[in-house]
Symmetry: C2
């Protein structure tokens, strides 16, 4: 674990084969012979991509390894929120243990950076944030974990939550979260003033869950953009889900996209098959940063999710009707550079000088490597091998 | 290969563990000891489900094993159709070889019956049907293949195609296909009169690709239902894709669903993430048979698809926002009993007396077995093992 490495026979983004030198945890050269004393690995003609970025998940509440959870939850959003608060106590979901399990699963699939929303509420307090902070410390050498303090149960409608959000940020949460200012908190101005107020006081970015549909969501989006501009927070605000960008009124959508681009507000999508969703290509063309995430992985909300960001790229492709090879590459971008820009990761990428966070994929071309989703041949974080052939070098608790 | 088998420690649909006896290719008992001379297999506590049914694919034109196809095709439906006709010649896509490759891939993933649409057009003639018929003969012991004569390039707009459709049916195609009566063939009455005329003359079922959107597709659907009733073909007509059932006008959709149920017209969906799609649960509740398919697997139309009907069940679940365990089981039904009913498979299922076509899946519960999509532990067709641990016993050409 010294961050020195030489990998032969790799094809960056599917292009011509070369070798790669990593020195002190950074990519230092292509096509050079192995420096003396460096471990050398045969890349077996694999496609080289930068580390996958999981830009939206909920590490604290996955049920991985806890036995199958039989889901009999009601259909409304509030049913899921209330069921989860109750089940957390009943099942004793340990945020430290569970976040470690999912983080390690992510690493096995090539993810090198994760943004996790972590619940803050008046029942569990900030225990989730404390647990995931512990995981982020323990596993800091294999994956970067960024924590969003997330008021899952609402903020203004549950007195005491704002104080807990402050506590979470004092403890070290990196981002302030928010949730459906109208649909859940019933006070869009009040909710957003608190969220942006916390961002200003603590000097942290913002990432707001916005499930609100169509024109209602669009109104919230406008309020978020106004505050981003007023506070000079361009580039530091993300709207997650943003279903409203999939609404029918295309003129309104076009205006929103222009405003997002101008205010440098980022969009996060899970590429939901069953909901209106942000149009990935149009957002990219407008210059809006768009990234992807798994959302919940096997939790009380639903049984799906496996933390595989190549599978997420396929879902982004299917959702956006991407068929051409250049479009499949765009789908991957939401799971690599898009996520890195959203999280503000420094020195991310494959250029010399970048941090040596990368993945080797089986496939004749980049597109084939993405759609076939074979077990990852090699995952490297900071110049050290952290997973091989689909298995991590770390053991899950 | 005598169709006699005894499998211990299996859990039918995830229920209590038992053993299963297969005699002469049929399920004959549960919970009985192994008859003398029967091969006995340890089911390792797997979930037992009936054979998966791939109810809509295009075996003749997959590019599996032919090297990566770089997709640079234009965005319109007609671009894809014309590109494909040209590429078929250029790439020399051999329908017999390619259908064998995909069929074997399907078997490795637990599919025991396939309905394949096969192109019939004035350039390739009926070569596709001949090729897939050959595959269906060669691999008849490992998978049932049903062939739909499919006028992919249009029928009335390309003179000579109707005669080729007749030839395909004389050769042994099992079903007569159709395609977008208005959007492609520009003559809904003319197109459907020919399709149903062929069905009547040859005594075969009908399966029509209907991509037409919203009210246009709904009109075609009405015309299909009228002809189904007039010819007494209840139970023998399928509408594939049926995007119009995902249209906004919910009253119109409700009327269509009632009419489909009354005329016993079946619906096939791929659960497309990027298009309006038939609502699976509502159709089931109305008594309409609804099945699922992969559509094209790695062809000139698009790079996706892996012939995995458990993955298709997950996509059906995601598209329909199925989260509860009972809903995930419904998603699987579209890939098992739904497909069997659509294809009219006889003696399908897990009851004693049924044909011994079944799959063993890893998983604590049925829902976990579906969403985790682990390599199939065992695939049995007609009482004989045809795949183990994700690998078929047959070799692809």
């Amino acid at each position: 674990m010294n961050g020195n490495l030489h990998v032969t026979r790799i094809r960056p983004m599917g292009k011509a084969a070369t070798s790669l030198t990593v020195t002190g945890g950074r990519i230092t050269a292509y096509g050079e012979p192995a420096p003396a004393g460096f471990e050398s690995i045969d890349g077996r003609n694999a496609v080289l991509i930068p580390g996958l970025v999981e830009a939206h998940t909920h590490l604290d509440k996955t049920l991985l390894g806890m036995g199958w959870y039989r889901n009999e939850v009601g259909p409304r959003l509030i049913d899921k929120i209330e069921n989860e608060r109750a089940e957390k106590k009943r099942l004793r979901i340990d945020p430290a243990r569970q976040s470690a399990r999912q983080a390690i699963l992510s690493v096995s699939k090539g993810t090198t950076a994760i943004r996790s929303h972590v619940d803050v509420d008046t029942e569990a307090g900030v225990a989730g944030v404390e647990g995931v902070l512990r995981t982020s410390e323990i596993y800091r050498d294999i994956v970067d974990i960024e924590i969003v303090a997330f008021p899952q149960s609402g903020m203004l409608i549950r007195p005491g939550t704002v104080e807990l959000m402050e506590e979470a940020l004092r403890l070290g949460a990196h981002v302030v979260g928010g949730l459906d200012p109208s649909a859940i908190d019933r006070d869009p101005k009040g909710h957003l003033d608190v969220v942006f107020g916390l961002a200003e006081r603590f000097g942290v970015p913002v990432d707001i869950h916005l499930h609100e549909p169509a024109e209602l969501g669009a109104f919230s989006m406008e309020l978020i953009i106004e505050r981003t501009r007023a506070l000079g927070m361009q580039g530091e605000v993300t709207i997650s889900h943003a279903f409203c960008l999939g609404m029918a009124d295309q003129d309104y959508v076009a205006n929103l996209i222009d405003a997002l681009a101008e205010a440098k507000v980022h969009i996060l999508t899970t590429a939901p098959a069953g909901r209106p969703a942000p149009p990935v290509k149009r957002l990219m063309e407008a210059g809006v940063v768009i990234a992807a995430g798994s959302d919940g992985v096997r939790d009380t909300w639903g049984p799906y999710g496996n933390a595989d960001m190549l599978e997420r790229a396929v879902l982004v492709g299917l959702r956006n009707n991407f068929r051409r090879d250049d479009e499949v590459a765009l789908a991957l971008e939401t799971c690599t550079t898009g996520g890195a820009r959203l999280m503000g990761l420094k020195d991310y990428g494959l250029a010399p000088g970048c941090k040596a966070d990368f993945v080797l994929l089986d496939g004749e071309t980049l597109a084939e490597a993405i759609v076939s989703r074979a077990p990852r041949q090699l995952v490297v974080k900071g110049g050290n091998v952290v997973a091989r052939d689909g298995h991590t070098c770390s053991k899950a608790p």
